[in-house]
Amino acid sequence: MIFLKLIMTNLCRHRIRSLISVAGITFSVAAMLTVVTILQGAIGMFSRILSNDSEIIVFERDVSDLFFSNVPSQAAQEISRWPLVAHANPVLFGIVSSEGHPIITCFGVTATDARIQKAEWLQGDRNSFAQRADGVVLGARAAEFLSANLNSQVQIGHSSFHVIGILKTANGFEDGGVFMPLESAQAFFHKEGTSSVITVKLHNKDDAATFKEMVKTKFPNLIALEDAEFTRSYSQFRILTATAWAVGGCGLLLGGLGVANTMIMSVFTRIREIAILRVNGFSHAQIGGVIFGESAVVSVFGAIAGLLFGTCFLYALKLIPALDGYVDTNLHLLLVLLVLLLALLTGVAGALYPAVYAMRVRAVEALRFE
């Protein structure tokens, strides 16, 4: 109890300094949580686009980005005939711009694709898809920012398209995207006879290994990965994840420096008190315990406040209409625990030098210190 009092006493003695330190950890944790959650959410959404009613993705081996992947149409046709395959849908991804909207994602899909067949159609008839070459279906948000309705003409890139339907999906990328018949997309993006990926659903999931081996044998230039495997290994996702953690880590490092500064000041301004504890029998470990205890309290309070602040910030982002569907605010328990642990470790690391300094205080000299 006295031990805890010693820890809390000093934090309360310099309230502003302690609060600044807590704020440093708070903002670091909030930043890390927000950045990682948003990017993980984005990755999750992109993964869900690929795994829509499928469990395996086939794409060109060794490409740095799926937008550069070229999968021959014949491969899609042949794979769809394999007995263990329930269905195989080629999808072509493309990025175009329109006036005032620098990035619009285009999906070149077949009429049987789950995106067309299983989505909620707000306007138009799903059976009309791919009936005309210039007919496109817009996601609800795309229709909104392009000010388009059913049967209106929209300018996408250098071409004009006829809107044959508007559909609603929970995925921000799809909801803000344009769905074109595969052949139209191939012509539009000058990728005739190819798609970016083939999304594959098997009759039996357990045949995944066999399927992957068959692709490897039959199409050496292609690679088949299960959805989870793809999410883990896709270089863009890995870069995004690493970036998120690096940005968050920098934030936490700054927070840690704040704690270090506070703890150094804390130790320097009470050398005499530390000496009193020494004279009264406190061991080096007990002195260190007081200093580490202070930093741990700062870190824990900062981390809890950061979690609350970060969560509120994420929900606030979700409420912004322009970001609807793009921000996934689901906090994963593992992420929360990891961020808390990192905050605690940062706090402890920040207290390392001050604690060692405090432990080395020579009581007899420190008692002369005013």
Binding site: V279, F282, L367
Partner: protein, 234 residues
Amino acid sequence: MRVTREFDGAPSIALRAVDLWKSYDEGTVSVLEGVDLECLEGRSVALCGPSGCGKSTLLHLFAGLDFPDRGKVWVNDVEINRRSNLLQLLRHEVGFVFQLHNLIPDLTLAENCLIPTVAAGIERRTARARLLELAERTGLTHRLDHRIQKLSGGERQRTALCRALMNRPKILLADEPTGSLDEQSSSMVFDLLLDLVAAEGITLLMATHDRSLATRCDRLVEMHDGKIHEYAHA
């Protein structure tokens, strides 16, 4: 190294210094120059002398807070050096009272007194009982939950005395314990100090400027220029 007792039946030597030398600032300031001193168990010894004569330094060496350049120190027959168990010494063998009370201002009187028991890992109930006992004997019972800022100088010094005695040390080292008090408080604290050490059979080595107080100890030792010049028995 242990010191053998001189003969059976006589009080043993609680504190012993042999040819102690101590200097600061790389030898330029010499503080102790060959000090020899023995304090018998259960006796009170006053160490008198002008400021800077080395009284405090000698007390620090006995408490293991500092180490001599040359010579040896024994506390209860155990030699004190850098390899000694200094925590054991500070937690159980020696209590220290300073001229300035050196209490932690944000803690209460009780919390300050309990610090040595926390350090030594003494059970809370035992520590509390000892605190109440000492508080009663020093007249501080009604002040236990008061913060140090609310206490008078005399009360603070009595608190420091309680804290020093919490773990029932066998030796009490007091460095000008009444130096910061007025005459009345000084006399009161000193009376209390002598009563407590007598009641608990504690060996007292006290540095003081005040000759009138010093003469009330069992023995008075004069220090000048880092040397013990004379032994004067009160």
